[in-house]
Amino acid sequence: MSAPDFQAKPLVVAHDLAKTFDVSAPWLNRVLERKPRQLLHAVDGVSFEIPKGQTLALVGESGCGKSTVARLLVGLYEPTRGGLTFDGQDAHSAFKSPDAKAMRQRIQMIFQDPYASLNPRWTVEAIIAEPLTEHGLISDAAELKTRVASLLQSVGLSALDMPKYPHQFSGGQRQRISIARALATAPEFLVCDEPTSALDVSVQAQVLNIMKDLQRERGLTYLFISHNLAVVRHVSDRVGVMYLGRLVELADKHTLFANPRHPYTRMLLDAIPKMHDTGRARTPVQGEVPNPLNPPSGCSFHPRCPQATDLCKSERPPLRHFKGIQIACHGVV
């Protein structure tokens, strides 16, 4: 059903994940001004599977809900509907149970901004040692130091960096520190929310290479969130395209890039500047992402879609299997 993979059970299964935020005006305003409650459907029924050792990338423009999916997967948000099965267990009930730490050890996250995600007043040693002591993995001080040193080496830094503070490192080095921290508990699944978008290209290449090396060595499973399709094409095995809180296309990387079927996917691919084709003007996409508080009826992409029909305006297409991919479009299926 999913990737052409002989493994029977995928490691990560998200089924019908949804998160709704209440963004209503304060109670008094609602009563006096007779404003209704307002709900923002940030993620609205997203399902996917990731086999062990593979990378699923989620792409989409800002506000499409991809970061919310990331936060749902690591348990930073409670889903409004649906759930996550991790290695056969219901992850969200495990997060609430007494042995939640056992589950949290196995799922870790790398954040976008390496300047904000490291405590500036902690040394690198303290930052990386924290998950180890917090989860009670290592209590012996000398052993802790050796472990931190080896984690730093695994991301291309040195043991001599341990007493330094985050401000003494460049952006790329800081992102490697946060990768080392995420790896400390020896997780199986890493959720990476735009891990390289704050970095320069030459440094981005260093970080992406390290992430790929670590995946090969340790059999890590990644959910990789990015808005940069070229990066996604480089790191992922499968790609899910999101628009306004829903998956519109989910396919194998090669299929998606060679033969994009959803009009939104095509639009995103067309929007990438071509490097070696200088002076070629892109066909700019019309319109912008609509306000998620007031999404369009039917298919939420229809106001921008060049092939929209009356059916698209009235009825929302479900995500359906079609020739080995999954797609939500009336025009294709």
Binding site: E61, V201, S202, V203, Q204, L208, K212, H276, T278, T283
Partner: protein, 322 residues
């Protein structure tokens, strides 16, 4: 004659430990109507180059030596009052974040007419009419109504259109655009870039486009300057620099960008990071990271010289004589 000439520009930041040299001997020029891209990684000095040209260097930063000449007039030594007449009238500026470059308390119409009235001899009615035309030209529908809206009522892409309209309001000859699309989504980015290209072409305005995105440079610019550690590493026609780079830094930068056409297991990476301003290596600043480094690179600093179809500051392309 070139519209803008920057000659041997040096920008320094004095501090209590000494003086940091942020731009070191930068020279380039921009022809009328030309689009020059300036690309480099963070800290290379590209935004600082733009800020020196518009006269918005943050103190204690100062132009220590060199000249900036706009249409034959030196503008690097003007006082704040004189510079205010140049800025907006002759040089328009577009910054990265459209929300911070617009005043949230004024309608966009007020901000546009204010700029037009400050620089052009027109009546308020004429200024408003021009403002509406500008908004129409920048692709804002229902411009007659939207002119009385506030910045928060516009989306990110629409705000950047307003900022472009604002930069063009007094019909400047040069636009300095510092990362105009970095804060925008890819689909909006394409709209803004083609808009910028079109409106500048229609008005004959030259553009200095500062960005870290090689893709944007590739499809927009006529020429490109690659900056590294406060200096220009390579400058030349955009297709030459991208397809046949001469400087090892440009080559490494190009190879580290994941592209859509090839399947590489690993990206080429340039090891290390850009040096800090207080620790710029002697000789060529790129020498500790350069795969083709040799003895001379560590001792002598190379200047820009012709190298293939471009000009590069690299000893590989310059003869033994010095």
């Amino acid at each position: 004659m070139s519209l803008l000439q920057v000659k041997n520009l040096v920008v320094e930041f004095p501090n209590r430990h000494g003086t940091l040299r942020a731009l070191d001997d930068i020279s380039f020029d921009i022809a009328p109507g030309e689009i020059l891209g300036v690309v480099g990684e963070s800290g290379a000095g590209k935004s600082l180059t733009g800020a020196s040209i518009i006269g918005l260097l943050e103190p204690p930063g100062r132009v220590a030596s060199g000249q900036i000449v706009l249409e034959g007039q030196r503008i690097d030594q003007l006082n704040a009052d004189q510079m205010r007449h140049i800025r907006g009238r002759k040089i328009g500026a577009i910054f990265q974040d459209p929300l911070t470059s617009l005043n949230p308390l004024y309608t966009i119409g007020r901000q546009l007419t204010e700029t037009i009235l400050a620089h052009l001899p027109v009546t308020p009615q004429e200024a408003r009419r021009r403002a509406i035309d500008l908004l129409k030209d920048t692709g804002i529908s229902a411009a007659e109504e939207r002119i009385d809206h506030y910045p928060h009522q516009f989306s990110g892409g629409m705000r950047q259109r307003v900022v472009i309209a604002l930069a063009l309001a007094a019909e400047p000859r040069l636009i300095v655009a510092d990362e105009p699309t970095t804060a925008l989504d890819v689909s909006i980015q394409a709209q803004i870039i083609s808009l910028l290209k079109k409106v500048c072409k229609d008005r004959g305005a030259a553009v200095m486009l500062i960005t870290h995105d090689m893709g944007v440079i590739a499809e927009t610019c006529d020429r490109v300057a690659v900056m590294y550690a406060g200096r220009i590493a390579e400058i030349g026609p955009v297709h030459q620099v991208i397809n046949h780079p001469s400087h090892p830094y440009t080559a490494g930068l190009m190879a580290s960008i994941p592209d859509m056409d090839s399947d590489r297991e690993r990206l080429n990476q340039i090891d290390g990071a850009m040096p800090r301003l207080n620790a710029i290596p002697s000789g060529c600043a790129f020498n500790p990271r350069c795969p083709q480094v040799f003895e001379r690179c560590r001792q002598e600093r190379p200047e820009l010289g012709s190298a293939g179809g471009t000009r590069a500051a690299c000893w590989l392309h310059q003869g033994v004589a010095s």
